[in-house]
Symmetry: C2
Subunit: 283 residues, 2 copies
Amino acid sequence: METLSVALGSRTYPIHIGAGILAAAELYRPHLGGGAAAIVTNAVVAPLYLQRVKKALGGMRITEVVVADGEQAKSWQTLNQIFDALLNGRCGRDTLVIALGGGVVGDLAGFAAAVYQRGVPFIQVPTTLLSQVDSSVGGKTAINHPLGKNMIGAFHQPLAVISDVAALDTLPDRELRSGLAEVIKHGFALDASFVDWLESNVEKILRREHGALGYAIRRSCELKARIVAADERETGERALLNFGHTFGHAIEAGAGYGTWLHGEAVAAGMVMAAELSSLMGQL
Amino acid sequence: METLSVALGSRTYPIHIGAGILAAAELYRPHLGGGAAAIVTNAVVAPLYLQRVKKALGGMRITEVVVADGEQAKSWQTLNQIFDALLNGRCGRDTLVIALGGGVVGDLAGFAAAVYQRGVPFIQVPTTLLSQVDSSVGGKTAINHPLGKNMIGAFHQPLAVISDVAALDTLPDRELRSGLAEVIKHGFALDASFVDWLESNVEKILRREHGALGYAIRRSCELKARIVAADERETGERALLNFGHTFGHAIEAGAGYGTWLHGEAVAAGMVMAAELSSLMGQL
């Protein structure tokens, strides 16, 4: 297992990366002071990993919330499903919220944690490549509004991120490729030598070799963490990470959310941005 | 006009107290950098004060949101009414939200500002005694959930508070007395000499003499600000301010929200807490 740090002063937190670590009790234990936890996950991830995380939490009082899969779930309705479960489970301000799943679960559970009783602690256990390299770094949480994506949200940093590369063994191929687009984006935007490494190792990644995946995740997180540390609230430099996202969001919205995966739209968006930039250079 | 400061490091903000100041353009101007503002108010306050605040903002692009009056409005539905208006008004991340009204409007608009596009700046213009002495200090914002009051919210400090004592001229007598209960609570909990002053000046306050009201508001805010500065997120000392609120919340919930005013319930709650404490002392 490797651990890197997202440097944000009093909100600094570790990202642990390794195979099988979502079942590692010692990674949760330091954050369980309140004696209660709530696991938010979805209908696809729950059958695969929920029992293993519960076992790692030992004999704690645990509230489970299983939401629907997909971008449609980033809604008021699902957020209220989480609040209802937390309140019915008598979760207090010391409850640890654990987000177990991809970007949608992380954004939803993170935002729920940001505003439940004015803020409770949370941990991210991302189970997709996209969420391991992107949404788990930087504390952006949100839900969608019918008039716009991610319009309602908060900056709420997790206490820790537990990125299990073995969880990617069960990820559909299309989602693996979608996540890889954000990895490549970090290279294009911030580190040319990482792009070279990716070109040489893309086959290993697509074969899901844990070593290559682990390095790709770690390097992506390092690159993004450096930007986030300098500009937590996206007033300047952090906008660099939006490379490919202007066209990408337009593609997602135009096609209807869920038709294109986020990474697919970003990949096409990067090509369009590069072509536009090349056209502008010829003027 | 008097100005005091709530000391919260980079989130330090001024509270201005005076007669007629909700129309003072110079108090808004320093915070209007983004060039757009959204005023959130309610159906009772809008006819009385909305035009004067709009005039003070000069020729700005202004989005108006008029919500229903009363505690019932601290709901998802009303919050979404605000989000819809902000999005339809094409309000960006630099929009200044202005909460014009009592505690419900302040809590709602403050929470909307906390999470709209992950946080936009806001100013409180409290128009009730209760909101001038209580909710305008400390940045607590929230809405209610069917299973509990103030269950969903955020700590989001305003850029400034503009407390106009002349706005209290139009406040129903019952609400004036409800606000006075929180003023007295600050005295009981934190400053016995302020209780003496209140006993000597209660008639002036009930006659709404601006001088006496101004002093009562200023002293209440000073007392609360000192506690909030030491314990912004209510992990310890700030709980002192909950004197009377345990029984008070039970009374409000038991009778159905809106039947008892908040200050009325707190006043009764303080008597019950004092009696309980006296009984415990006899054991």
